[in-house]
């Protein structure tokens, strides 16, 4: 296990332990979910696993190091002693597993192929057949631009976009959101593992786990007004998503702090990290803090000061949604 520590990581860990997030340090404010008594141990765990040497001496992510990073994250999350056991805690043989990646930003800021390959390897070791794994996003050409090879049919890991099989015809609706769901979700995934990236968003503030589900419906363009709020939260309430969602692994190998969602290399940084959690709200909150810290480091205003705080996170945590927690007192950020 890598034991390298950076100053920024130490500060982040310290801030997390004291509960003094960037929010309280005069940064962005956020409405917390309604205060509730904190039961002992009732915390959402967000594992942040880092490897400053993830790219070795080059610019490409090293598969071996990525696989090791993934294992470290999963062990820290699951408490198991063996990576395969960590995955066996999550999936069962016979299940079909969808890996919803994020490839909108192109190769510069998409879910890494190496990460996905490592996940596919562990899933198979946990008893999932290759042909029962589907790597997917909205558009096949976006997958290809991000470096994935398309594959439909056969005994291999599947990889294709919704454009290849389409959307359901029946409307799926919750609250303010209505749309047609990708048939990949409804017909090819019994289990959903969410693989977003970490970047800011010019409307929503940030786009991480919860907003990655915009790639599941046919009309995400309709749900960008008002900072995507409450749409992001309402979308994640759809039973078809909730029933399948098991885990989020946020690929923060490359992250962006400004100019998103399109890739802006000048505003990206090599965070060389994975954020892993079963609580997507806690993960989004944690990822948001990382972005704010980088923005502060670069002399940029907070997202709140720019008029685009990610209000959808608080909505996702509120009494009407309860998709997770955004209360720092209830989030345990574990560095792995």
């Amino acid at each position: 296990m890598s034991t390298s520590h950076s100053d920024s990581r130490r500060d982040f860990l310290k801030a997390s332990l004291t509960g003094a997030t960037l929010l309280c340090a005069g940064g962005a404010t956020e409405a917390l979910a309604a205060a509730e008594p904190i039961a002992a141990g009732a915390k959402s765990r967000v594992v942040v696993a880092r490897d400053p040497q993830l790219r070795g001496t080059g610019s490409t992510v090293d598969f071996g190091r990525m696989a090791a990073l993934l294992d470290r994250a999963m062990l820290a999350l699951s408490g198991r002693e063996n990576p395969v056991d960590a995955w066996k805690k999550l999936v069962r043989p016979g299940e079909t597993v969808g890996l919803k990646v994020n490839t909108l930003g192109g190769r510069g800021i998409s879910t890494n192929v190496q990460l996905v390959a490592a996940i596919c390897g562990r899933l198979q070791e946990a008893g999932i057949k290759a042909g029962d794994i589907v790597v997917w996003d909205r558009e096949s050409d976006e997958l290809e631009r991000a470096g994935f090879h398309l594959a439909m049919g056969g005994d291999r890991v599947q990889c294709f976009g919704t454009d290849r099989i389409g959307y359901e015809q029946e409307l799926a609706a919750y609250g303010s959101v209505g749309g047609l769901l990708s048939k990949i979700l409804t017909q090819r995934c019994g289990v959903l593992i969410n693989l977003p990236v970490l970047k800011d968003h010019d409307g929503a503030g940030v786009t991480i786990a919860l907003k990655n589900m915009y790639g599941v419906i046919n009309n995400p363009n309709k749900y960008h007004p008002d900072g995507c709020n409450p749409f992001v939260a309402d979308l994640n309430m759809l039973p078809e998503i909730r029933a399948r969602m098991r885990l989020t692994i946020c690929d923060a190998t490359t992250a962006m702090y400004e100019g998103g969602p399109g890739y802006k290399p000048e505003h990206s940084w090599n965070a060389n990290a994975l954020l892993v959690s079963t609580d997507p709200v806690a993960l989004d909150h944690t990822g948001w803090q990382m972005i704010e810290r980088k923005r502060a480091e670069k002399g940029l205003k907070t997202l709140e000061a720019e008029g685009r705080p990610p209000r959808y996170i608080a909505t996702a945590a509120d009494a009407g949604h309860r998709l997770g927690t955004n209360d720092p007192r209830k989030i345990s950020v574990v560095e792995a």
Binding site: E139, D163, L171, S176, L180, G262
Partner: protein
């Protein structure tokens, strides 16, 4: 009802008579007889082809402004979407490619039918004629009650379509003896370029153009695009900004401005107000609406209070009671509006046109068919009162 297309068989050939006839027969509608069927949900099954070449539908958009960093600001509707490279506006049918903005739906007909003009509804414009009606995917609002959500709330690549260039549209309107082309079904604002070009082709062939719209459009494109229209029907969803925000995802004020501008342009305009029980059916709202119309547009603008049938995201609401529609009409009549109709209630006497002076029936309608039209030379034949509208081709 929509023409059911097998997406795999969608050809790149222009919309032709054989295809159109097949659609009409498949939908059970005989050409030449008014189709009473409203566009229904339940789009054709099958995925849109991800590998289809869409380049013939892509035309540089009008009404946008280039910004730094390859961004653009759309100036078509009041949303004024700022769109980054490779992204689309709210409507889903206009896309930034390398800092230039493109419509993706020029000549991309997702629905095409011959409809009676009364179905638009336009009651004072060429009654008993048919309109060659077409629409594309997309919309610049998201009404929770949308009857055509399956195309309006979809991206163009998700909706089977036929290549129907403007010239072909004009030819088909002529072939089917339609004196008008109607831009409808979804929201014509978002296919403004196609609408404008088709209107020009139609006018060159002696075919008029009418538009069925939410009126949520900026002033310049309104004058440029709807300036080419011969008649306009505006869906005024409510008289409340909060309703527009919460239920429509739009704004009321720009729509009211559109109505005033259309009046100044001298465009024949009719208004539809879809009444949703408990949401926009208060007396206060009806009073506010009708007072505003009288003050700003005059008493001769036809106003249709239309019955809602549950759909899309508001299936929990009931069908609008007829008594609610009659209450709305009574308020509008009392305000002094001359032509107030009740829509979507076949057989209701308020579907007919009556002389505001002598109160005799001038146009009798059965469903979407004007079975009797007694108006002569735009006047009541009984008392010679002028009856506004365009009554003859």
């Amino acid at each position: 009802m929509f023409c059911h297309l097998d997406a795999q068989k969608v050809a790149k050939n222009p919309l032709d008579r054989r295809f159109f006839l097949k659609c009409a027969l498949a939908s059970g509608a005989a050409l030449g007889i008014g189709s009473a069927a409203a566009p229904a949900s339940g789009m054709p099954s099958g995925a849109a082809s991800g590998s289809e070449d869409d380049s013939h539908y892509v035309v540089e958009a009008r009404f946008y402004q280039k910004l730094a960093n390859r961004k653009i600001k759309c100036k078509l509707c009041p949303r004024e979407c700022t769109v980054g490279d490779k992204e689309r506006g709210y409507c889903g049918v206009r896309e930034n490619r390398g800092g230039a903005y493109y419509t993706l739906v020029h000549s991309r007909a997702a629905a095409a039918h011959v409809d009676p003009i009364e179905k638009k509804p336009l009651f004072h414009y060429l009654p008993s004629t048919t309109a060659f009606s077409l629409g594309t995917a997309g919309c610049n609002v998201n009404c929770k009650f949308c009857q055509n959500w399956d195309i309006s709330q979809s991206r163009p690549e998700q909706v089977p379509a036929q290549y129907a260039p403007p010239q072909r549209v004009a030819e088909l309107a002529t072939e089917y003896h339609c004196p008008t082309i109607a831009y409808t079904y979804s929201e014509p604002v978002i296919f403004a370029e196609y609408l404008m070009d088709a209107a020009d082709a139609g006018h060159a062939a002696g075919i008029r153009s009418i538009v069925v719209s939410n009126g949520y459009i900026q002033d310049e494109p309104l004058k440029a695009a709807y300036g080419k229209m011969d008649a306009v029907k505006i869906d005024l969803k409510s008289f409340s900004e909060s309703y527009y925000h919460n239920v429509v995802s739009g704004q009321l004020k720009p729509v009211l401005e559109t109505l005033v501008t259309l009046r100044k342009m001298g465009k024949w305009t009719e208004i539809v107000y879809l009444v949703l029980p408990t949401l926009n059916d208060s007396d206060a709202e009806f009073h506010g609406l009708t007072k505003w119309i009288k003050t700003n547009l005059g008493t001769d603008v036809p106003l249709h209070f239309t019955q809602y049938h549950p759909e899309y995201l508001l299936k929990n609401l009931p069908i609008t009671p007829v008594s609610t529609l009659e209450r709305a009409k009574a308020i509008a009549d009392a305000e002094g509006l001359h032509y107030v109709y009740i829509g979507n209630v076949p057989g209701h006497p308020a579907q007919n046109t009556y002389c505001p002076k002598c109160h005799k029936m001038l146009v009798e309608r059965v469903g979407f068919t004007a079975s009797k039209v007694l108006i002569r030379k735009s006047k009541c034949p009984f008392c010679q009162e002028p009856i506004p509208g365009v009554w003859h081709v």
